[in-house]
């Protein structure tokens, strides 16, 4: 039975930019039943298609944009897409997600995924108008900021297109650069640089087809229930009212709000940075991504800068705010604006500047090292000036844009507080104050990541944050959950109102696959995570890379509810490997691979 009319468009678009060739092929039903779409499909394609040790910024790296079987339907948050490649920041397999309308439009154009390989010799853009795919010169957009690029594309190709673009940082191959669609970002892992390395400035898509599901009546019923469940969740309501920033006080109360480059877990001006205050002073409008009833995007307007941004969200407030000791709203606002304009990830940028500020604190750096900028805790002005440097890649920005790990190599003695795992800067939860977070940062296949597992569950009442017992199981369970969400692809935030049960109820009638229980989806999640692991092992990663910076492991937290705590990673990690059916070195056992049906693929 074909996959057409079962939530899939049954078409994979393969573009080789070196040869300037465009091919399309059908999906393999067996593969889709095992990997569903999104992250699953991307992982499969990368594992099969990418030679080990391919340089991330070489033409051989593959850049995959994928959607899932629910994309484009009325299932909640079904407009997203995922970007997968080998990351230039970490050298691992990497996945990043982006909201907005590009994902649904790509599906309406008739594709389940685009695989881009090779590299053009001069700036180029891909124009997908339903069945017509063309490559066009993009020299005129070279060096343009994100917003300007978007506007130029809209003017040229019309109001009904969607685009995904990179900013100047991506063109400069910065490993902290992202891909942008409208006001939304696939921020992490340096996917912008991979796009930049292919000299690809933009992908433009127009789609006018429809998505047909296998059993419409059942699907409709399930979708209705899913939307209702979201409406009946108070966490979703909080997201709707004040966005992701709603949790900042909770995280602070748990002593898990990274402050001053993760030295502390509480920030004394947290109330100033709460969502309520941003709502009162800056946020003018809530906007939703495609098919999303939540509308967590908050459009902020600054009188000072006479401009708007989408945000700041929780991660940006932590990164540019508490992590740098900054509580100046205008500085955070403008910092966020600059990150979006030049196309870099706010989490990484906030980590970089927090790290620089600590270099000053410890006397490891002087203003001469930073083009005359003296970066002290809480200095919003220095924050903005450093972000400008990073965005433009000028002066010391050339070094800073390489990420915390690279910078720390220039400052001996700073490795212990370079807050990164596998080269990816840490998101906004302090591992010492929530142990499962430590585990998830250490294990996550793309480096320190907050979207894999326990963080929110642990801080929002899922378990006692300071214990290590049971955290491996908690992380595993959460990780499989979010892998399924990332495979379909829905938004991480649906997890605040939906469970795998409601998702299972939608996927089964949409695809017509013979899933009997939500457990079957969890099993797919386990397969994908294990294949990601196999990818990283093939690249030479091992259990020795599943670590945390010394600060998290050996520096007792000086204050707050988690005072005196460090992360006892070894026990949790060993337990996790065991739960996953991996050996003590973190290598999946043959019987595990067999049980997941991976042996034949590998």
């Amino acid at each position: 039975m074909s996959l057409t009319n079962r939530g899939y468009m049954n078409k994979l678009l393969k573009i080789d930019l070196t040869r300037q060739s465009v091919l399309s092929e059908k999906l393999d039903e067996n593969v889709m039943q095992h990997f569903l779409g999104g992250k699953g499909l991307g992982t499969y394609l990368l594992y099969r298609g990418l030679k080990a040790h391919t340089a991330p910024l070489s033409p051989d790296n593959m850049l995959i944009l994928a959607v899932g079987p629910l994309t484009g339907t009325n299932a909640p948050t079904s407009g997203r897409f995922c970007v997968m490649c080998k990351s230039p920041a970490t050298g691992t397999i990497s996945d990043a997600y982006c909201g907005g309308f590009f994902g649904s439009t790509l599906k309406y154009a008739g594709y389940d995924a685009i695989v881009i390989s090779g590299a053009a010799s001069s700036p180029i853009k891909i124009i997908i108008d339903n069945d017509n795919v063309s490559l066009e010169d993009a020299s005129e957009l070279s060096g343009e900021k994100v917003q300007q690029t978007n506007i130029a594309l809209r003017k040229k190709y019309g109001e009904d297109i969607q685009s995904v673009v990179i900013g100047p940082a991506g063109e400069r191959l910065s490993p902290i650069s992202g891909m942008f669609s409208g006001v939304r970002t696939a921020g992490r892992g340096g996917v912008g640089a991979v796009m930049g390395s292919k000299k690809l400035k933009a992908i433009v898509v127009r789609g006018s087809k429809g998505v047909v599901v296998a059993d419409r009546e059942q699907f409709e019923e399930a979708v209705w229930i899913a939307h209702r469940a979201l409406r009946m969740s108070s966490q979703i309501k909080r997201l709707k009212d004040i966005g992701t920033a709603n949790i900042i006080k909770l995280v602070n109360a748990a002593g898990a709000l990274p402050t001053r480059n993760f030295q502390l877990g509480q920030f004394d001006r947290t109330d100033d940075l709460s969502g309520e205050i941003w709502r009162q002073k800056y946020w003018k409008k809530d906007i939703a991504c495609f098919g999303c009833p939540i509308a967590c995007s908050k459009i902020a307007f600054s009188e000072k800068y006479r401009t708007t941004i989408d945000g700041p969200d929780y991660e940006t407030i932590f990164a540019l705010g508490t992590n740098c000791g900054v509580y100046d709203h205008e500085a955070i606002f403008y910092g966020n604006y600059l990150c979006d304009a030049y196309g870099v990830d706010t989490i990484s940028v906030g980590n970089i500047i927090g790290f620089v500020m600590e270099l000053f604190q410890r006397g490891l750096a002087t203003r001469d090292d930073f083009d005359g900028i003296e970066a002290r805790w809480g200095d919003g002005d220095a924050l903005v000036r450093l972000i400008e440097k990073i965005g433009k890649g000028e002066g010391v920005g050339e070094l800073l844009q390489q990420g915390v790990r690279a910078i720390s190599q220039h400052f001996p003695g700073s490795e212990d507080f370079a807050m990164q795992v596998k080269g990816l800067e840490m998101p906004g939860y302090l591992p010492r104050a929530a142990k499962g977070i430590g585990l998830s940062y250490a294990i996550s296949e793309r480096g320190a990541c907050h979207l894999r597992g326990s963080p929110l569950s642990e801080i929002l009442g899922g378990a006692e944050p300071l214990t290590t017992s049971g955290k491996a199981a908690l992380f595993k369970s959460n990780q499989l959950d979010s892998t399924v969400v990332n495979t379909l692809i829905l938004c991480y935030f649906v997890k605040f109102g939906l469970t795998l049960k409601e998702i299972f109820q939608m996927v089964t009638p949409a695809t017509g696959f013979d899933f009997q229980h939500p457990r079957d989806l969890e099993h797919i999640g386990e397969r994908i995570i294990t294949l990601c692991r196999m990818f990283n092992l093939r690249e030479g990663f091992s259990n020795k890379d599943d670590v945390l910076p010394k600060r998290s492991l050996a520096e007792p937290l000086p204050s707050g509810p988690a005072k005196g705590q460090v992360v006892d990673l070894d026990t949790m990690r060993a337990e996790y490997y065991q739960l996953m059916g991996w050996d003590e070195q973190g290598v999946p056992k043959p019987e595990t691979l067999d049980g997941l049906g991976l042996s034949e693929i590998l």
Partner: protein
Amino acid sequence: MEMTSGKRARFNRLFNPVDGRAVCVAADHGWMSDPTPNVVELERILKQVVEGGADGILISFGTALRLGHILRGKNSPAMLIRADWMNMPRLGGSNVSNVLPAVNFKKIATSFATDALLVGASAITIYYFIGYGDEFERINLEQAALFARQCRQVGLPLIIEPMAVGGMVTGVNIAEILIASGRIAAEIGADALKIPYTGDVKTFKTLVEQAGIPVLVLGGAKSDVPRDALELVDEALQAGAAGTVFGRNVTKAKDPRKMVADICALVHGGKTISNILNEKRDGFFRLKTIPENCIGCRLCQIACERSHEKGYGQNKSRLQIKFPEIGDELCNFKPVVCTLCGKCVKACQPNALTISATGHLTLDREKCTNCSDCAIACPFDVILIDDEGFPIICDLCQGDPQCVKWCKQNAVVTVPLKKLPGRL
């Protein structure tokens, strides 16, 4: 199910003797959650709940002392006492303002069964949290068992409230956990359950059957759409529930009295939701947009296309959400809909496009010459032309416009239309 005479007598006050069902309202939020308006204005709200015809009201011991007098009179709602306290909402799960957030989950017993008797209670309610860890569950069961014993001694019914809470509770196991927890509570000594909906009729039916005691479904967080709560009640009743214990969906409702009365109409009155909400529109109507409510999610467009086409999409929808114009940095979306202005009908020379007697546009494809005059005449550019040259027109989904049904932002609504635009 058998009960001692004391328990039976007190349950008789709670469960309607004719249908054995009960509509209860939980109003104990001020005891564990934020002082939101529904807490501050509890007295006024409780009076409305009584007027609405509730069979039982769940309150804290202190509220019973202070406001218990509202429940005097043998036809007024039965008093249910919340006999324990916990901090779950302040863990970030369901709080509104996060004043003084909590980090570790705590639950304690606070009133004995005899205390509840003193204030005139007809039953007590205590939590049974499962999923947060083995020790936490043990504490919960220990307290539940203690109350079960006390309640048997004094002839007071015990309502146990199982809740599946914790990081290890997932979509894979939540229904199974709830089903098991209901039975566990019954084995320990619950006389009735107050329990969350499992999310579907089939599993909830299993839960009800395996519990073997009356099951009251709880409402959870308030939805902005009153229909949601009623749908939940309806589904729970289909599954065999004996009634409801709704809190925030009632106490935070615009009109708590009406909300209770609506639930009663479902539970006791045998009415349908459509009936209760008066969803059938009388007379002619048209669509109207309220652009400032629009968040740009396109659910209306998908619903529209799905209602008329084979698949899900947004390119053949009969209404459009225009992206904010370039330079409009405040992201004002512009929804455009067919307002039944009649200009297309007037422009249609071959008379293919008409407004039917039932009040919506219809196209006679035989007569249509594919001239697109209708689309040109449309002042909102809402009429698209399909691949064959026919106009794609809004037929108001033959009376049940899906865009309106799916737009929970109220950015697309219907307004009555006194007179249909006629052809000149």
